[in-house]
């Protein structure tokens, strides 16, 4: 039987590969940007730099979300864990004056603990991921408000007499919130790219990543092939929590404060990034490359609408249309 693949079909397979199709969606958005370039502003580097800075926090959340979605799960708590971590980090660094080497790991641990808790409920008690992480989403938001007393935690410290005193933000805030390479790229963008790289390696090269794909593809088959399903799921949610906490730190350093409301609704954006990239909500398929693409597509879309100062109503309608357009463009390329 001749099942050899002709050169032509190899090309057509490239065109049909998910990564290529994801690129097509991004290309469409960029093309729109080139047309509506706001008097050339779209062609300047700092527009792109700002887009990358803005999307970084969402991108970090999307990295963790990718891991979880690949196991055919979902994590609704990423936004709340971001808020919790932003509050904790500000509290430790700004108000209690902890050094960065202590504050950062503590926050990451707290985030990972939230993720592990959801993961435990899902893996051990077989609660549906949507419910378990919904509960965590509400709980972590409550915790953030409780820790912060419902107020933003900033460099303004309340003194005994009720007046406020302003303190200098510590070095870690300045460093993480700054730009590098002659102001050409934000540090948070580098953090995002580093997270993406780590997740990429995990998914593409590490045993754990392969196990996550197997779980998403057919959990029972994975279990019977010796995949430690519970442990792998636990790790996926734990990592997702950890990355959410990292996003929270990035959010806090950019805002120079910890807002207990930070990250509300971000879970939807993070999921949208993952899915627009081309990863399937059903699990077992996808990857970090796609998520990176999805992040850029959403980032550019927002940037273009913002650059052109499109009014809110029109902006929303256009966003809806362009999302559908981009996804259709992905599908129907030949």
């Amino acid at each position: 039987m001749n099942l050899g693949i002709s050169p032509k079909s190899r090309v057509s397979r490239l065109f049909r590969s998910p990564s290529f199709r994801a690129l097509a969606a991004l290309a469409l958005v960029i093309a729109i940007g080139c047309v509506f370039n706001a008097e050339g502003t779209f062609f300047r580097w700092h527009t792109h730099r700002d887009m990358l800075r803005h999307i970084s926090v969402f991108g970090i959340l999307a990295c963790g979300m990718t891991l979880v979605i690949i196991t055919s799960g979902i994590d609704l708590a990423v936004g709340s864990v971001l808020g919790l971590s932003a509050v904790l980090f500000s509290l430790f660094s700004l108000q209690l004056g902890w050094p960065a080497w202590l504050a950062v790991p503590t926050c990451l641990t707290a985030g990972a603990a939230c993720g592990l808790t959801s993961g435990g409920l899902i893996a051990r008690f077989k609660i549906q991921p949507f419910i378990a992480t919904l509960a965590m989403m509400v709980f972590a938001r409550g915790l953030a408000k409780w820790v912060s007393g419902g107020r933003k935690i900033s460099t303004a410290v309340q003194l005994a007499d009720g007046s406020f005193e302003y303190r200098e933000a510590p070095g870690v805030f300045r460093i993480l919130g700054s730009k590098l390479f002659g102001g050409n790229i934000a540090v948070v963008t580098l953090i995002f790219l580093a997270c993406a790289l780590v997740c990429y390696v995990l998914l593409a090269r590490l045993r754990l990543g392969r196990q996550l794909f197997a779980i998403g593809g057919n959990e029972e088959a994975a279990r019977l092939s010796g995949v430690p399903v519970s442990a792998a799921k636990l790790l996926a949610y734990g990592l997702c929590g950890l990355l959410s906490a990292a996003a929270g730190i990035c959010h806090a350093v950019q805002e120079q404060q910890g807002d207990p409301e930070a990250g509300a609704g971000y879970e939807l954006t993070a999921i949208a990034i993952v899915v627009i990239g081309g990863t399937s909500m059903l699990g077992g398929k996808g990857g970090m490359g796609l998520t990176l693409n999805g992040a850029m597509a959403i980032g550019y879309l927002e940037k273009i609408l913002s650059l052109n100062a499109v009014g809110e109503a029109t902006r929303l309608m256009l966003t809806g249309l362009i999302i559908v357009g981009a996804v259709l463009f992905q599908k129907h390329r030949k």
Partner: protein
Amino acid sequence: KDHGSPASSAAPPKWTIGVSQCNLGEPWRVQMNQDIRSAAEGHPEIKVIYKDSQNDSLRQRSQIEEYASAGVDLIIVSPKEAAPLTAPIAAAYRQGIPVIVLDRRVLGTEYTCFIGADNVRIGKAAGHWALRKLGGSGKIVELEGLMTSTPGQDRHAGFREGIEGSGLEIVFEADMKWLEPDARREMESALSRFPRIDLVYAHNDPGAHGAFLAAQAAGREKDILFVGIDGLPHEGQVYVKRGILAASFEYPTGGREAVETALKILSGEAVPREITLSSRVYTPENVEAGGEWLRDN
């Protein structure tokens, strides 16, 4: 302090006040509850219960019904919406429970007292201030609060009225929905498009702060004046002290006034039907001295 020891808390509270706050997601509203709490602290004769309706008028409506049926002595309500809350407030009022409406109005007259500030007036004052500061001409970026909400609409309308007929030009406006990250993103776009921006008028202080951070990242924060609204002690006022904002216009919460009025009502004194709060402007010059009261102009 020894809670609950019979010696210190002489008598049990005489009156129960129910507070219905429409949303605790905004710092300004957290501050309002805080103001009510600190004002009530000195009065052991009242006990205050707080409920938060999570930005949902129907939920707030249930809360008012709950207070009415629990028979509290007075209700302080900061309504989310006028129309849906008019009926339940009127029902409680008719039942004989005094109702103080804080910040946003309800329709009709079936309540005891309204306490609030005037967003249009504050917006207009900000406009006048910008006009004076820029000397009649300049390019302005307006970062709007949620434009489907009345405060956003009023702060917008007032400001436009304030700068009407002058050489001030609004070159960029965007809805940042009261959110700092959105404000920063919109400001970044404005900065990339316009080489010259003289003033940013944001409908709240976090918005102005987000715009400042964007400008700082672009190295242009020195060329731009940032104006915000709300003037909370730990937010706007601190920003002004640090030189981030050129001005922050206070939007008073009325928490303290509400408690004072409530005490008057409960002890049988007459109160006016409407109390309009006056507000202050904080600038680097006057912030240490506690701001300057806005005069009607």
